[in-house]
Every structure is written in C-alpha cells, then in structure tokens.
Assembly symmetry: C2
Homo-oligomer: 138 residues x 2
Amino acid sequence: MATSTTGTTGTRAGDIPRDETHRLISAEKVQGTPVYNAQGEKLGTIEDVMIDKITGKVAYAILSMGGFLGIGERHHPLPWNVLTYDENLGGYNISLPADRLKVAPSYGADEQVDLNDRNYGRKIHDFYGTAPYWDPAI
Amino acid sequence: MATSTTGTTGTRAGDIPRDETHRLISAEKVQGTPVYNAQGEKLGTIEDVMIDKITGKVAYAILSMGGFLGIGERHHPLPWNVLTYDENLGGYNISLPADRLKVAPSYGADEQVDLNDRNYGRKIHDFYGTAPYWDPAI
C-alpha cells in the first residue's frame, strides 16, 4: 500500500533522526506527500519513487491524480527535479499549467507501461525538458 | 510504518507496470526487502532509503537489524552500491563479515543521529570504502 498519511508524519521511534535531516529525505516521507500547482491547488500525491538500480538515482517520482479508491487514478512519472518542496504548503510544487499536465505522459491502473523503456523515458524527459536519468553509456 | 511485506509484493493495480521494470525499482519494493550475508543468513531488512534532495541520488539504504517490535533494533545506513540484489535469495546481499557489521556505523531508536552531517557521512563512506553521495561543490 502507498503510505498516504505516514509519508508526512514520522512518529515512529528511530524515524526522528532520519526525518529531521535537511538535505536528505526518506522515501517514506516522500510517499504520500501532496503536490500542488502554482495556484496552490492540490493535484494529487506522490505515490512512490522509482530508483535507477545502476546509478542509485531517483529516475521518477510517481504522482497519482484523481480517481476514487484507486479506480480512475492516473499515474504521472515526474523527473525528480520537476518537484520543488514548499515549506508553507507542506508539499511539492509543480509549475505546470493544468492543461499541460493533462497531456503529460501518464498511465492508468489497467495500462501496461514499461517505465524502463527508453522511448517512454524520452517522452517523459522531452515533455518536462529535463535530462534523462540514464547515462547513454550504461 | 515501514512496509515489511508490501515491499516485496506488488499486487495493487497500477503497481504492475512499475514493478516489472528491470533497471528501475520502486522505493516501496526496496522497503522491506531482506538483506543476507555471504553465507545466506538473513541480517535484517531494508527499512527505508534516504534520498539526497539536491542530486536526487539515494544516499543510503537503511538496514534494520535485530530487536523486537522496534525495541533494541539498530539502523545501519548503507551506501546504495554496497547492496547487490540476489535473484535466488529474493533479497540483497552484503559481503561483509558479521563482526565487521557489528562495528559498522549504526544507531538505535533512542539515539540522535544526524545523517545529514558530513562527518557522520564520511564515517559511513570510510567504513564501506565508497565515495560520498555528495559533490563537495554543492
């Protein structure tokens, strides 16, 4: 299960030293963090992060939007640096107009998408204007 | 809560396309994955991953060992590339003798450790002989 609430609270003993670090953030804390647009409207929540096993880099944060109990929900793979943390909102900010986000690469629960596929990866990185997470040499 | 079982199973609709990727792995899947030593003995499980917000790189995977219901448990921050996934074991392998792991940098639930502190970071990277996750220029 995605941790929709525990992601933003760290009350477990042992969590405290990790969650209070500044430059580092635990994946658990990222999971469930809300994402807002430039107007401060909540778009959805970060459901998970995809890690590139070879480089140890976060390839994508998966933003989940819409739906009800998982039905009709759409998953948007976002390059990590598209997200900016906003202390006041207590969540990430993404400066992308709603109509742009609607046409952003995304998939539903019933769609077979291979995030590992570089053509799909290029689609994502082209859309957001970011450098791909992979090194072409690897 | 750390996802001790959901980390290794991906049955939720929408998980399938993410979990089947080869080079990429979801943080949710890493969380709860067992870690074994060279003798195939289970040492503990990966509790969480710490992400460097600036570079988007995984700084550490947190290995939790011992204890009962969180009491007496020790948390070992491991550099990402110390872990090797073993298909047969269905978990990570760490080629570190038990007596070495005992003296590895670790903390208990009641200890205040700042993982963000570079002196602590150097201790970890010196111990495992890995390059620090940070770029000295940032």
